[in-house]
Symmetry: C2
Subunit: 527 residues, 2 copies
C-alpha cells in the first residue's frame, strides 16, 4: 500500500538495492513498506529537476503559490486517520499529539499561503529617481526579496509532520519561491511517503512545475551528504542534534560555492526561578515544570533541561515537589531505539560526573514496551556547573538539571557561562524583576526567545516567533525556523535600477497592483 | 603628527616592533608616520573591551547612537583638507574623488543616524495574547532585531574613506548596536589613524562605552586572522578580492562557534548590449562605457569587466569607437604597487589565452609616475568564453572583455555560464526588452542588482540598494553591504514572550513610545 520509491518531480523512480524498513519504537517490530535509498544518479536527476523548476517557480504568481500550499494542506487533512496512525506507529508518539501536530502542519501551510497571498513579506523598498539632484542625478532603485534556489530540507525525527516532509522548512521554502528536495527521516519513512504523495498530487493539481518538490530516502548519511554538497543546492534546512547539524555544516564547507545552511541544533533552555516567586509558590512551579520537562518524553528542542535558582527553603520545597511528580511520571516511548540509547548513555555519563546528585528517577516504567524514557532530575552546585562543560550538554529526553547558586552574583556567573540557547525562561514576581536587570540582560544576550512565567515548550507559529538563538543553538542566529519569519532564510534581495515599469515584478510596479505595504522614499505606504 | 599606535577603546596603546610605513603609490616614496602592527596581547585587550562595551551599547538609546554617528561625521568634516590630502597621497586617487568620498562617508553616517533615530528598522513584530483561544491560549509574543555583538571590520583599499575605518561597515555595525574593531588597511594607515582619532573623540564626547570602537594595524595577515578566529568576535565584514575574502571564510570555518562572515569579493558585472540599441547608437554606448570602465582606474567592485553582444555592424562600430576612446584614456595611479602588479600580470595572462584578441590598450601613459594603469579592451567569441573559465575572472583595473555571440541563443548560454555577480546591466531600446524575457530572467538569477540603460559604477547609498550577489560575488547573497539594509548583517531577532511591559525594549512596549512602524497582529501600524 505504501509506495517506498523515491519521489522525483512527481514521479516514483525505482532504484536497485538499499532497501530498509520502518520500526515501531514501542515494540521494536518492523512495520509494512519497503523503502529504497536513493543513489547518485537519482540525486543528480532530482537537482536537475529542481533547478529547471526554479526558473518557472521563482516568478510564479503569489496567488498560484498560495493555492499550491493550501492544496497540500487539504490533501494532508484528507488522508486523516491513515496518516495519523502511521505517524503514531513510526514515532511512538500518542494519537492526541500527532493529531495536534497534523493541525499544526496544515495550519502552518495555510499561514504561509496567507503570507504570500497578502504579499508584503517581500519587503519592497522603492527609492524613486531624483533627476535634478546635483552633482549626480539619483536613479530609480527598487528592491524586494526573491527566492534563492533549490532548498534541501532534512526531515526531523521529533516532529514527523510539523518539522518533516511538509513541515515548516518545506512550507517556508515553497512560500519563498524555492523548489524543495526533502531527505526523508529514516525513522518515519511511511509517514514521509504519504505526505510526499500529497505534495506531489497538489503540485500536479495546481499546475506547478514538476521539479518543485522531490523526496529521497536513505537510512544512512550518503544521500544527505551528497545533497548538501551538490552545487545546484542553494540552501539547506535541518532540525536535529548538534552532531548532526555540525556534520552538515562541515560538508557544506567543502563546497565550491558557499550557501546558507540553517541548522537548528537544540539547546538546554535555562529556566531561572527568582527568589520571591520560588518562595511564594514552589509547589505550583514544580507541577508546571514537571509537565514541561516530560512533555512528549522530553523530546523537544525547547525542553527545559536546566533550572537555575538561589538556595533557599523555597527551593528545597520545589525540589521535593518536582522530585515527587517526576517519580510517578509514566514512562513514554522514545522516538527511536537510537534516541533511547543516547538518552540512557548521556544521562548515565552525566550522573557519573563528580559533584552531581540524583534527585529522582521515575519508577513508573511500562515493562510491556521497549525504548521507554525514564524521567530524571539531578542537581549540582553552581560552582560545579561552571567548572564542568559536560553539565551544559543537551540531554535529549525527559531530563532536567537543577543548578543551585549561593547568591544572585553566582547565579549571574552561571548565566554568563552558558552557551547560546533557543529559549530562556524567567519565573518571577513582577516586583522582583527590576532587581535583576543585569541578570536579565545577560540572559537576553544568550537566547533567541525569553519567556516570563511560562514554559519554553510550545512554540507558537506566528509572525513574532523567534526559534533560533546564538550558536550552538542554531548555525545562524539571524534567522528563525518557526513562524512566518522562517521564509527569510531562503530569499535574497534583488534591486532593479531604472527598470521598465511594465517588466518589473508586480510587487515593485509603480501602481502597486498587488496592493502590498511598501517602503517608498523611506515611508511605509500602500500607495 | 600622525599617531601610528593602535587605538584600543579610546586609548593609544604602544607595542614593540612591527613598524611599517605608508607609500605614495604615484611615486613609490615613503610617507610620514610610523605604524605599529598589533600583537596577540593587544587583540585580546581589544576584544575584551569590545565585549564589555557591548553590554552597555546593545541597549543604549537610539537617540544616543544617532548622536554618536552624527558626531563622527562632524569630526571627519572638521579634519577636512588634512584628511583629504593624506588619503590622496596614500591612494593615488584624485582630490575630487576623495572629496566626494568624504561627503559619501559622512552622508552614510548621517543616513544611519536617521535610520536609528526614526527607529522602525528594528522590524518590531507584535502578536498579542489570545487568552480565550482553545485548545491552548496564545501568549503575547514580541520580536525585534537586536545587535549580534562585536564586529570586526576590514578596511578596503579602494575606498580609503567610504569602505574603510568609518565606512559603510562600521556605520552599519554601530547603528545596529555592535561595537566595532577595525583592522586598518595597510595601504592607507595615515588616513585610518586620522579617522580612528575622530571616531574615538566622538565616542568620548557622546559618552559611549570606551570599547565601542578600536582599530588595529598590521601590514601582514596575522592580526586579521586572529581577529576572525577570536571567540569574542561575533561577525566579520570585508570588501576586497576573492582570494582575500575566501581566506577569511576559511579562517572562520576553523572557529569553535559559527559566526556570520560577510565578504564582498567583487564581480565582473556583465553588460548586455541588445541589438536595437546597439545598432541605433553604438558611438554613444561606447563613450558611456569607456568612461565607466576607466573610472577610478577601474578599481570598483562594480566595474563593467564584461560586455556581451550579438555580432552585427553596430557592434563593429561600438568596438571601433570604444577602442578609440580607450586608446587615448590617460593612465591613472593604481592604489598600490601590488594591485598594479596583479593587474599587469592577470591581464597579461588572459591576453595570452587562445582565442582572445586585443582590441586596444591605452597609449596615454604618464611616464613621470609609477603604478600607472593601462586601460585595455579585448575580445573573445562566446564559444571561447564559455569554454575557458579564465575569461570569467575579475581583472581589478580598467579592463573590459567583449564577448561576441552569434545569436540570442548563444548570448543566453553565455549568461547561464556566468558566476554570481554584484550587478548586471542591460542596454536596450524599450521595445526590444519583451523579446528577451528568458535572457532577462537568467540574468536576474545571477545578480544582486540589475540596471537598465545605465552603468554599474556609482552605487547609490539608499534604502533600496542591494550591493551583494550570489556567490562568488559575496559570501551571503541575502545581505547588502551598501545602503541602510547593511545593518541587517549585524542583528538577530529576539522574541519576548508574556514579558512585563515596562521592562520590554521601548520599541516593543504597548504604548509605542518611540512612535515607530510595527507589525501588530499582522497589520503595519504606528498604534
Amino acid at each position: 500500500m505504501i509506495n517506498g520509491n523515491n519521489v522525483i518531480a512527481g514521479n516514483y523512480v525505482e532504484v536497485d538495492g538499499g532497501v530498509f524498513n520502518a520500526t515501531d519504537p514501542s515494540t521494536g517490530k518492523q512495520l509494512t513498506g519497503d523503502f529504497h535509498a536513493a543513489d547518485t544518479l537519482l540525486i543528480e536527476k532530482t537537482l536537475n529537476a529542481a533547478t529547471a523548476a526554479f526558473k518557472v517557480y521563482r516568478i510564479i504568481s503569489p496567488a498560484a503559490k498560495a493555492t499550491f500550499l493550501r492544496t497540500i494542506a487539504d490533501k494532508l487533512t484528507a488522508i486523516g486517520d491513515d496518516l495519523i496512525n502511521r505517524a503514531v506507529a513510526e514515532s511512538g508518539l500518542p494519537v492526541g499529539r500527532i493529531t495536534g501536530e497534523l493541525g499544526r502542519t496544515t495550519g502552518q501551510l495555510r499561514l504561509f499561503a496567507d503570507l504570500v497571498e497578502e504579499g508584503s513579506w517581500v519587503d519592497a523598498v522603492i527609492d524613486t529617481a531624483q533627476p535634478e539632484r546635483t552633482p549626480i542625478p539619483r536613479s530609480d532603485i527598487r528592491r524586494m526579496f526573491s527566492p534563492i534556489g533549490p532548498v534541501v530540507v532534512f526531515g526531523a525525527s521529533n516532529f514527523p509532520l510539523a518539522f518533516s516532509v511538509a513541515g515548516g522548512d518545506t512550507a517556508s521554502a515553497l512560500a519563498a519561491g524555492c523548489p524543495v528536495v526533502v531527505k526523508a527521516h529514516p525513522a518515519h519513512p511511511g509517514t514521509s511517503a504519504m505526505v510526499a504523495a500529497a505534495i506531489s498530487a497538489a503540485a500536479i493539481e495546481t499546475g506547478m512545475p514538476a521539479g518543485v518538490f522531490s523526496m529521497l530516502y536513505d537510512n544512512g548519511y550518503n544521500v544527505g551528504a551528497q545533497l548538501v554538497k551538490h552545487e545546484q543546492t542553494k540552501a539547506v534546512a535541518f532540525t536535529g542534534s548538534y552532531n548532526g547539524g555540525m556534520a552538515l555544516i562541515k560538508l557544506a564547507q567543502e563546497r565550491k560555492s558557499l550557501i546558507p545552511v540553517f541548522t537548528e541544533m537544540g539547546s538546554i533552555n535555562p529556566v531561572i526561578l527568582l527568589p520571591a516567586i520560588l518562595n511564594a509558590e514552589p509547589e505550583t512551579l514544580a507541577a508546571k515544570y514537571a509537565g514541561s520537562i516530560t512533555l512528549g518524553a522530553g523530546q523537544f528542542c525547547t525542553n527545559p533541561g536546566l533550572i537555575l535558582a538561589i538556595k533557599s527553603e523555597g527551593l528545597d520545597r520545589f525540589v521535593t515537589s518536582l522530585g515527587g511528580a517526576i517519580e510517578i511520571t509514566p514512562s513514554a516511548t522514545m522516538l527511536t531505539a537510537g534516541i533511547w540509547k543516547n538518552y540512557e548513555k548521556l544521562s548515565g555519563e552525566i550522573l557519573a560526573e563528580p559533584g552531581i546528585e540524583l534527585v529522582t528517577k521515575s519508577t513508573a516504567i511500562d515493562k510491556e514496551k521497549v525504548n521507554q524514557s525514564v524521567a530524571t532530575i539531578a542537581k549540582v552546585s553552581a560552582e560545579a556547573f561552571i567548572a564542568n562543560k559536560k553539565f551544559g550538554e543537551e540531554v535529549f529526553g525527559p531530563w532536567s538539571l537543577l543548578v543551585v547558586a549561593d547568591d544572585a552574583a553566582q547565579l549571574q556567573q552561571v548565566i554568563e557561562s552558558l552557551d547560546g540557547q533557543l529559549t530562556a525562561t524567567v519565573m518571577a514576581e513582577k516586583e522582583e524583576l527590576p532587581l535583576y536587570g543585569d541578570l536579565l540582560n545577560a540572559l537576553t544576550e544568550k537566547t533567541g526567545r525569553i519567556i516570563l512565567n511560562g514554559v519554553p515548550t510550545g512554540v507558537e507559529v506566528c509572525a513574532a516567533m523567534q526559534h533560533g538563538g546564538p550558536f550552538p543553538a542554531t548555525s545562524d542566529s539571524r534567522f528563525t525556523s518557526v513562524g512566518t519569519g522562517a521564509v527569510y532564510r531562503f530569499v535574497r534581495p534583488i534591486a532593479w535600477q531604472d527598470w521598465e515599469d511594465s517588466l518589473l515584478p508586480p510587487e515593485l510596479q509603480q501602481a502597486n497592483p498587488l496592493n502590498i505595504w511598501r517602503q517608498v522614499n523611506n515611508k511605509w505606504t500602500k500607495e
